[in-house]
Structure formats: C-alpha cells, structure tokens
Symmetry: C2
Subunit: 214 residues, 2 copies
C-alpha cells in the first residue's frame, strides 16, 4: 500500500512535535483500518472511496497519548491538520469537508455522531481494529506501555469491585471493547465486530482457566 | 494465597532500589507459577512442596528489565538474595541450597541446567506462564512497555527477513515462545505447554487473517 496520502502522513509524523504513533496507532493500524474500510464498503451502495482513503490515512494524524487529558480533542485536531495535507495531495476541494467530518467523527472519545455513510464506514472500520486477535494484542501493548497490571489478582473479572481499566488491562474488555459491537453503524461492521468480540470472550475464558485453574 | 514467604517478598520489593516488578513479573505471576507448580507436582513422585513454595515465591526476587544487558544474572542474584529471606521465614537450613539452585536454574537466559526434580518443576512452571492466553497477554504487555511495534507490516511472519523480537513483538513467538514446549522437563509440563502453544498458533492464524484479509 502506497499513495501520496501516506507519504504526506509519513512526513507529518516525522516532523511532528508530539511523541508520534504508539504501537496501536501506527502505519500498520492504518493499513488494517483500510482493509476493514474495503471489507465494509464492499457491502455498501457506492461509497466515495477516494474520500475514504484520505480520511483513513489521516484519521490519527495528531496522536495524543491514551492517558492525555485532552485526548478527546485528537480527532478534531487531526481533521483540521488533514485538510491542507489532503488538498496538497490532490483531494478535490468539494471533498475536504466530508473527509474532515469522517475524521473528527471516527473517534470514540470525541462523541461526534457521523452524518455521512463514509463517516459511518470509517468509524466502524477503526472500531473493528480494537476487536479480535489484533484488539487483544493492541490492548495489552497499550496497557503495558502505560505500566498497567494485566489484571487484578484478587478479582480478575471485577465481580466484587468497580471496573478500573486505568489500573487493570483486562478491565478494558468490559469498560469498552466488548461494548463496541453494539455501536456499529453498518451491517458488515456489526457482523465482523460480533465475530471478533466472540473470539475475545473465548480468549477471556481461556485466560481465566489458566490463571485460576481448578 | 498468603504465607510468610510472600510477606517477605512484598517487603523486599517495596524496599528494592531496582524498578520492581513489571506487568509480566509481579505477585500475579507468582500466583500463576505456583498454580502451575501444583499442577505439575501432582503427577510427580513426592516433590518437596515446602522447598518449591519458597523457590516459587522468590524466583523473581531481583527483577531486571527485559532489555537490561545483565538480565541473565537476575536468577543468580535472586537465588542469593532469597537465602536470608527464606531462612528468616523458617525454611530449614538443609533446604536453602536446593531452593537457591531451583531459583538460579529456572531462568531461560541464565542457561543453568536444573539438577533436581524441584528445579525442573519450577522451570517448567515458569515457562508455562509464557504460553497460552496469559503468554499472549504478557508478551504484548512487555513489548508495549519497551516501545516495540506489534509486527512488521511488510512481513509480519518474517518469511523473507531475519527474526527480530527487539523490533517486533510478534517475532517473539518464533524466537522463543513456541520453542518452549521442547524444553520442558516434566511430563505434565510438556503436555500443558503443547496445549498452550497450539492455542498460540491459533491466535497467530487468526491475527494474520485479520491483518491480511483476502
């Protein structure tokens, strides 16, 4: 996968003052989200793939650490920064606004409802990458980078305490990840999300058998 | 699970000048290794469980970061530091040497062959914790804490490049983890390791289907 959008992204990330992409939000994440966009778009009536391509490549242009207090601003900042880049890469003027909307609406924490089919597709494609085997890998990598414990050894499944995913990685399954399938806005997105969430539940059962045998 | 050994460990870790346990080597790791020790010991002719308990609780007493150049010394340093602690907790003098041997021989990187059944059991129990669902969780948490990428997007399975687990988390499956079952020294350890390695191969297949669909 190579395109002018990606070259512009690499330049931007290379020169950015912020810490740059983490292991969950790097070029590989963009490649996966693009694969998800294509899988979802294949079942939709003629979405604008050029716009989706630009929105996908630039959706995490400005990356803020998972624990940054202004993290919910990242998608708005990305949308803003993406306009001049997409313009210089030749995205038609008329599509810049819709691209920026898809970028700002993709984020979970920004809470901006998508108003176009393309924005819905990008949001679903990005959320899919938080699920399944890749979702498991990303979640533990991010929690490790933040120095969080894998789980609470006294109560791994939080049966008798409030969930706290700032302390325990495993709690993130319940606080966020396993809720994502219900937020999907496309047919294909929801179907794929449910399959991936089922796999995560299997992983969780197996993990529990390993850590609390007998 | 609570015992004088564990209280001594908590005191030691609390006062230690080193950075202390990482998410893969904390009290929860010790609880899992102890569960593995019990599962393996149940199929062995009367291993010394008191000695095993002390060796298990103290096996990561001195923790060095995964990327420390002297990491292979950690098990020797732990064995040394464990002697006075185990003595003060009441482990009989005659068992201190065998406990220290089991601790120094448990480590992959130290390369010290276990000379007793207890040392073999502890080594297998510790390696089991690097496999299965918990092995996946630990591996990605540690690689995230070291700032490593999840995988090489150009060649995730290293088909046309040398493996490099200092750059790519996924490479650690092949460089180390999937080789562990062949190093197991007890019947039960090997059987459990093979089941867990098979699960990891399934995870890897699923991950590949997600990241490189079609």
């Amino acid at each position: 996968m190579s395109c002018p959008f990606e070259a512009a992204l690499a330049d931007y990330w290379g020169a950015a003052p912020d810490p740059g992409p983490d292991p969950a939000h790097d070029m590989a994440h963009i490649a996966r989200v693009w694969a998800n966009v294509q899988a979802i778009a294949a079942e939709e009536p003629a979405p604008d793939m050029e716009l989706l391509r630009a929105a996908c490549v630039f959706h995490d242009l400005v990356s803020l650490p998972k624990d940054a207090p202004n993290r919910s601003d990242a998608s708005r900042l990305s949308a803003e920064a993406a306009r001049p880049l997409a313009r210089s890469c030749g995205l038609p003027e008329a599509k810049l606004g819709a691209m920026a909307h898809a970028i700002e609406a993709h984020s979970f924490s920004a809470g901006i409802p998508p108003r176009t089919r393309e924005a819905e597709i990008l949001q679903d494609a990005d959320r899919l990458d938080a699920l399944g085997a890749i979702g498991i890998a990303r979640m533990f990598a991010v929690s490790g980078s933040l120095g969080r414990a894998l789980y609470d050894p006294e109560d791994p499944l939080a049966r008798a305490r409030p969930l706290d995913d700032t302390a325990f990685a495993l709690d993130h399954f319940e606080t966020k990840l396993l809720k994502l399938p219900a937020t999907m806005r496309t047919e294909a997105g929801r179907r794929l999300a449910e399959t991936r969430a089922a796999y995560m539940r299997d992983f969780l059962s197996r993990l529990m058998r390993e850590i609390e045998p007998g």
